[in-house]
Amino acid sequence: MANTREIRRRIRSVENTAKITNAIQLVAASKMRRAQDRALQARPYAEKMQTVLGHLSGVAGEPETAHPLLERRDVNETTVILITPDRGLCGGLIANLERHTGEIVLGPDAGGSGDISMIPVGRKGGDYFQRFGIDFRASFQELGDYPGLAETQPISRIAIDDYTDGKVDQVMLVYASFVNTVTQVPVTVPILPVEPPASDEESSGETQYIFEPSPQEVLADLLPRYVDLLVYQAVLEAAASEQSARMVAMRNATDAANDMISDLTLVYNKARQEQITSELLDITGGVEALKG
């Protein structure tokens, strides 16, 4: 049986850990609520933009209205935009993202016949894949807890520019999709070339839209914004996932610490009782001896 002083010290140290994990949990919980709200608020815009793009895609299918961002080429280079948190302490989230991305960029048939490059967003993903000597087209860190379009636009603009210049032929987005507070799933979304959503029968078949100034110009305006938006949405979802994962991980850690504290307290009380009993035995033994 360990002595009581040692057990007391362990208890105190676990208590301190629990205080820290609890504080991180509370902070993550409040950030999570806002990050989730923002991810949900961005959805109507994305949905509407997809409908408009759907209406346009009927017209865009014709060769004379095609746009560089719709053009499919043979793939000589693929860029993967990987969105990860800047900080750890969020459970298995980062490891899952890294494993998922690893299969794409390091696997046996990575990039098909072509090269692979990456744009890591967030420190964790960048640090990890740097070790494998993968070419980075750019890297972004510290977007903040609540990034806006202004922060994510540079990311999408690099992808668009490289694609238009023919430096890359395919761009994919990897991020932790937010399912709910306890579930976040790494997903891969191809963003370039843009795959226009299939337009539904009712809108494309019967309605003839007037386009101002012209279908080509509207498309040229809309496509870059659409890519901006895909990246923006992914970043928002990733932020919601990060905070949720951290909240859950830290709640588990706090619970584990509290369990440990109560186990240790039990051991401590037993040890203390034993000590008192043996002291009492010593004293009564002494008294008996004096009476003798």
């Binding site: 109507p44 408009v52 346009l56 839209y209 101002e212 509207v218 914004r225």
Partner: protein, 147 residues
Amino acid sequence: MPLTLEIITGERRLLRQEDVDEVVAPGSLGELGILPNHAPLITSLVPGELRVKTGNDVEEFFVSGGFLEVHSDEVTVLADAAEHGSEIDAARAEEARQRAVERLEQASDADRARAQAALSRSLQRLRVLEHRRRRGGGGRDMSRPTA
């Protein structure tokens, strides 16, 4: 049948109103008015003022560009950024205007386009404010948006 108007930005849904009589928007080919039974239309927008008429009331919004779609009496504005007249901060818009003018004077060609765009946004914001003031303000106050 009146129009249904939705103004959506990447960050929030600013407005959804179902009894709109007329929408006047800053289209890229010039200002355009939309009345009920308008033909289906998709147009890009430039920075400017969007006016919404409901009965005798008029409300002004600022949009910084984007798209507008009309389909079966539903008008959807997909704006890069949009504000209700009551949300615009006059001092900030004025400051932005001055900054843009200064930058325009000493800008290289690359910066010129951006300064120009910033200038046009600030001027349009001020114009929305001016119209709102001349009309006598009133209407909704969205300066403190409900979460």
